[in-house]
């Protein structure tokens, strides 16, 4: 190849390939955002989003095993935080349907450039930093196509040192992804599994889902309370070559995460509209900073005490969109003239929570 041709090829690569633009499909892949909590204990009874934004603990059949999810500053160079999962209660009698997955779920409309299901389906590569303390060294990473019930898996043997691991995912020419805001793909780190998911042969190539081929060879983090799984710098990108982790600013990452979960911090003066002077003809509203994935669920930790001469007895979701929340506020007794504004003075440092997770 001539020098000119080499330069032209390099330009083509830089312009068209994975080195250009935003690369990492993961949200909060470097564990910067922890809106819910930085530490939760006694987990394992049910699935949920408990700590780091976008990272779900998915639980199968009921297990005796319990664990904590914490933020850690013990990370590879260049990362502020990682996630650590600690076994606190063992489960040595594993029922067939059990599993513990640390996972992230993705909207189909964000994955169209994988060209899945087409003859030009793209190769992608998943990379992550991990280490293990204890004996549960073997984990399985699974990429699952929810729209077509297909999957591909890889087993990794971790060590006590931070190592960057790689999982090359060939393009799958079978099964296209829906172009909408619903869950189309899931990437899971399996840390524990029962025989329902381990009895076959690990699906190391794309295949129709077979439960017995999902987590073959995984060790159980619940085998000992000495087991700690550490994870940092998770990246999934189009291309066959892993690139350095794509560090995004905190503000950028937080805004991405707020599409799925947002906590509104109350202020010292929150305005309540009185439609009428009865106890429950009152409204409180606020704007969301980014459009959420869909109309979110609402919860809050606002105290219902007396403020500014009014005792609030309840706050309930009245109406909302993906960008604005309207709640109905009930006072303990009739109060306020029709079509006037009241204010409550005690909600600074307290929170409302909105969830539109997958």
């Amino acid at each position: 190849m001539t020098k000119a041709a080499e330069l032209a090829k390099m330009g083509e690569v830089l312009t068209n390939s994975q080195l250009s633009g935003r690369r990492n499909l993961f949200y909060n892949g470097n564990f910067q955002c922890w809106q819910r909590s930085t530490s939760e204990t006694g987990l394992g009874a049910s699935s949920g989003y408990f700590t780091a934004d976008r990272w779900k603990a998915d639980i199968g059949a009921t297990s005796a095993g319990r664990f904590t999810m914490n933020r850690t500053t013990s990370t590879p160079d260049g990362f502020n935080y990682g996630l650590v999962i600690n076994c606190t209660t063992t489960d040595t009698s594993i029922a067939a349907g059990e599993f513990l997955l640390v996972q992230q779920r993705f909207e189909g409309q964000d994955l169209q450039h994988l060209k899945k299901g087409s003859s030009s389906a793209e190769t992608a590569i998943l990379s992550f930093y991990a280490k293990i303390v204890g004996s549960a060294t073997d984990i399985v990473v699974e990429v699952f196509d929810n729209d077509n019930a297909r999957h591909i898996c890889k087993k990794f043997t971790l060590t006590t040192d931070w190592v960057r691991y790689y999982f090359t995912i060939p393009g799958d020419t079978t099964g296209s992804l829906d172009q909408d805001n619903a869950q189309s793909m899931t990437v899971s780190f399996c840390l524990h599994s029962g025989s329902t998911y381990t009895g076959g042969t690990l699906a190391t190539d794309w295949a129709a889902n077979d439960n017995s081929n999902r987590f073959v060879g995984v060790d159980s983090i619940f085998s000992s309370t000495s087991n700690e799984f550490h994870l940092a710098g998770v990246q999934w990108e189009v291309g066959s070559q892993a690139t350095p982790f794509e560090h995004r600013s905190f503000g950028e990452e937080l805004a991405l995460c707020q599409r799925y979960f947002y906590q509104y911090e109350g202020t010292g003066v929150e305005w309540i509209y009185c439609e009428g002077n009865t106890s429950n003809h009152k409204f409180w509203a606020f704007q969301l900073p980014v459009s959420m994935r869909t109309v979110p669920s609402f919860s809050h930790g606002f105290s219902h005490g007396t403020s500014n001469g009014v005792t609030i007895s309840s706050i309930a979701l009245l109406s909302s969109s993906d960008s604005r929340i309207i709640t109905r506020v009930a006072y303990a007794s009739a109060n306020g003239s029709a079509n006037t504004m009241h204010h409550t003075d005690g909600w600074n440092g307290e929170y409302a929570f909105l969830s539109a997770e997958l």
């Binding site: 009428g276 669920s297 309930a316």
Partner: protein, 65 residues
Amino acid sequence: MSIKSAKYIKNFRVEDEEEVILEPFAITVNYQNGSNWDVPINTANTDYQAILEWVAEGNTIAEAD
């Protein structure tokens, strides 16, 4: 999270100081872990999808007060 109970939230508008009852917009869900969430009746909301599964298992959403 596992659902313990669910109840429609009363929805209404006020006309001439009288309440006109509307179709409910949301459901209050009490979860086994003690948390409470108001979940909009929207099929793209995964919490609502979980309520529908809970109902399909034979459970009932209580009527609003």
